[in-house]
Symmetry: C2
Subunit: 164 residues, 2 copies
Amino acid sequence: MPPAPSSADRESGTADLHAVVAEHLRSVGLRYTPGRRAVVELLAGCGHPVSIGDIERALPSVPRSSAYRHLADLETASVVHRITGADEFARYELVETLTGHHHHLMCTGCGNVVDIASSAAFERMAAEHLDRLAEAEGFVPTSHRIDVLGRCAACTAAAGAVSY
Amino acid sequence: MPPAPSSADRESGTADLHAVVAEHLRSVGLRYTPGRRAVVELLAGCGHPVSIGDIERALPSVPRSSAYRHLADLETASVVHRITGADEFARYELVETLTGHHHHLMCTGCGNVVDIASSAAFERMAAEHLDRLAEAEGFVPTSHRIDVLGRCAACTAAAGAVSY
DNA sequence: TATATACTAAGACTCAGTCTCAGAATATAT
DNA sequence: ATATATTCTGAGACTGAGTCTTAGTATATA
């Protein structure tokens, strides 16, 4: 299976993406319907984790209950991954096998999340270190998550202006 | 919950802890009441982040609404820190200035969270690396969070027995 | 064309978490 | 000591993100 290059030529990879998603859905007995496709296209085109609010804004024709169901279905098909950010709202992104391994900048002001790619050397080192710590506690590690919390550029500027 | 303090020298630091907590509360105009003290003692004695369910079980005399309020008050006093784990429930721990910098093992089976301490060398390297990535995106980083997701020993054993 | 299965929209429902308010506890003033 | 002000607490109503139900629609297979 082709390892799905991510950011550079997103246009040319779209057809592949949809083929892969369709196959993943089919393998769990689900169809690739227009509603699900709209969600996948939003996640792929957005380039960062999106909240339900983002989805409602971008896809007003998709009812909230359907959006939740699509996300749940795509998650059972291993196409979508749900994350919890700095605020109380869940966010959703394509799984790392489609987008590549990455981490997140989470703004404690507005809650927005931005993807960041790390270096291979750091990743290798961190994974090895963390897995060793986990195993020392009897854990079987499956993945790690590294987030940087802080203020995005917009919120930093806003905080400088507002004293309250 | 039975006391079971994991380290004997925790006993000696308790008085200091309460003095510090009292001072933090006083600085924001709050008193160190028995209810708040019970929560702080639970967090300090437990040694890992606890959920509201844990608190209700350990402190059945503290009503849920009071527990939430105590946690919120302690958070505004910079004594308690709220984290979101692998499940949907928030968990609470003492701030790192009281417990030391650490990271978390999060079980995707039962949701329990365990503290892990990392090496100073790794921390320095990771912080430097992550801060650089954040600043490249216009973020002002304030902290980072490194979690290892996996299955705890109990859930690994249970998963081995249950095929479904 | 018929039948089965999967899908969707709308809204009722759940429940972790928040808010309100009246009364209790504590601090300060007299 | 008594009065007064302020904070704290418990009980329960309330909120809203997320889930579930249901009736009807679309698609696949025969």
